[in-house]
Amino acid sequence: MSPNVLALLPEIILTITGVLVMVAEPVLPAGQSRKPLGVLAILGTLAAGFASWYQLGFGTIHAYFNTIQVDSFSVFFHLLIAAIVLVTLLSSLDYFEGHASHAGEYFALTLFGATGMMLMTCSVELLMVFVGLEISSISTYILAGFRKGQASATESSIKYFLLGSFATAFFLYGIALAFGSTGSTRIDVISQNLASTATPTLALLSLALIIIGIGFKVSAAPFHVWTPDVYQGAPAPVVGLMSTAPKAAAFAVLLRILFSGFPSYEPRWASLIWIIAALSMTVGNLGALLQRDVKRMLAYSSIAHAGYLLVAYTAFPADGIASACFYTAAYAAMNVGAFTVITQIGGYRENVRTIEDYSGLALKRPVLAAVLGFFLLSLIGIPFTGGFFGKFYVFSAALHAGHVWLAVIGLLNSGIACFYYLRLLASLYSRRPAIEDNLFDGITVTLPAALALTITAAATLLLGIAPNQVLSLAQRSAAATAPGSANSTTNASR
C-alpha cells in the first residue's frame, strides 16, 4: 500500500461510506426506513477505527508532501473520534424513525464530519488543518438544524453557521500571518524558522488569531457565547457529537500548533491560555447555575470543561499533552453518554426540557435515571469515574508546572459545579408533583441505544477504575508531539 493511501486510510473509508450513504438516500423510496443506511454508517465507522488501529503498527507515516503525519498522537484522536461517532450513530439510529425524510443525509453528514475531524488531527500543515476544520464545521452546521420545521433548530443552525464562519476567518488570517512571518505553513518548519524570523510580533499576532479561532470551536470563555443557543436547538444526539468530537479535534490541533509549532513562544501563549482557562471555568460554571433547560445547562458545563482542559495546556512541556489527551477521552465518554440518555428521554420532539421536567424519572425509568446520574457524577469528578482521573491529571500537571493559582481556581470551580449537577440529580430522584403526568410514557430504549449507553457507561467506569491503558496510550501520543521529539521512523513522502 502506498504511504499516501495508508496515511489517510480511515478518512478514505469514511468518505467512501459517506458517499455511498448519501447516494443511497435519494435512490431509496421515500417512505422507506433509513435504518439500513445507519447500519452501513456504523460499519464504516468501525472499519475506520480498525484502520486507525492498523496504522499504529507503522510508526510515524509522512504523506502528501509532508502535510499529513500519522503518529500515535493522531491515532489516539482518530480512535476517540471513531468511538464518539459510533456511539452517536448507535444512539440516533432510531431517532429519525417516522419523523424526518432526511435521515440518510444525517448519517452521511456525520461520516463526512468525522472525516474532517480526523483529517484535522493528522495534519501537520496549517492549510490542511483548515480544510479538515471546514469539512467538520460545515457538516456540523447542517446537523445542528436537522429538526426541520422547528424554529429553535433553524436558529441554532444559522447562529452556529454565522459565528462559526466568523471564527474560521480568524483562524485563516492567523495562518496567513504565520506564513508571512515564517515563510511556511508547515508546523515543523514554522517552529524552525521562528527563531530567525524578522517579524516576531507578526508571529505572535498570528498565534493569537489562531488561538481565537480554535477557542471559538472549543467554546472557550470569551468566545463561548454561541454555545447555549446552538446546543439548545440542535438535536440531542448531534449535541452529544458536536460537544465532543470536533472539540477533541480542535484541542488536538491546538496541541500540535502550540507544542510543536510555537514551543519557543511558550511564556507568551501560556499566560494567554491561563486567562482563557480561568475565564472558561468560571463563566461556564456560573452560567450553568442559572439555567433551567438541561441542554443549556450542559452547554455551559461544556464551556467549563473546555476550561479544565485548557489548564493542561499551561503545563508545558511534559505532563500537559498526556493529561489533555486523557481529559478529552474522559470528557467525551461522559458527555456523549449524558446526551445519549437525553436523546432517549426527550425523543425527536424533545418535550422533556427543564430540570423540573426530569423530576420523578427514577420512579418511572430507574435504569435510565441511574445511568444519567452516573454520568452527572462523572462530570462532577467523583472518584471511580473517568471525570475524576481527568481532573486529577490536569490539575496535578498544572501544579507540577507551578500554576498553583490556576489549580486553585479549577478546584473552586469544581465545587461550584457540584451544585448544578446535583440539582439535576436530585430532581431525577424526587417525586413528581403531578401524578397523572405521562411525560415519560413514550420512552422506548432500543437495542442500539442500549448498546450506546453500555459503551459510554463502561468507558466512563473503566477510565475511573483502570485509567492506565488509556493513559499509556495518551503518553505515547504525547511523546509524538512533545517539542523536540525525534521522528526518525518511515519518512516516505508521496
Partner: protein
Amino acid sequence: MAMHNYPYIWNYLPLVLQILVALGLACGMVGASFFIGKHKNSRTKAGAYECGMDPVGDARGRFSVRFYMVAMLFILFDVEAVFMLPWAVIFRRLPQITGSKMFGFYEMLVYLGFVAVGLFYVWKKGILDWSAEKGDL
C-alpha cells in the same frame, strides 16, 4: 530583463495603463451610447435592474427556494472548473513534481468522480427538475 536602471515605481506602469484602458473603454461605451443612441425612456426601462424581479415591494416577499439551489449548484460546478484550470496548466510537469507518472492524473479523476457523484445526488433529489411541484426539496 534589465533591472534597477529605472525607479521601482515604474514597475506599476502596466497596471496604470490597464486602469486607463479599462476606464477609457467603459466611459467610451457609455458615452457613445449616450450620444449616438436613441432615448425612449419608459417606466420599466428607467427602473432599477433586479434580475427580472420587481425592485419595489415588500422586503418579506417570498420566492422559490430553487433560486438558491441553482445558485449553489452554479457555484459548485464553477469552482470545479476553477480547480481544473491550474491542473491543466501544469499537467505536463506533474510527473516530475509528484514523482509518479500517473499520480496527478488519478487525483483529478478521483476529484471528478466526487463531483459526478454530487451531480447524481442532485439529480436524484429532483433539484434539477423545475417543473415538478415539490413542497419539500
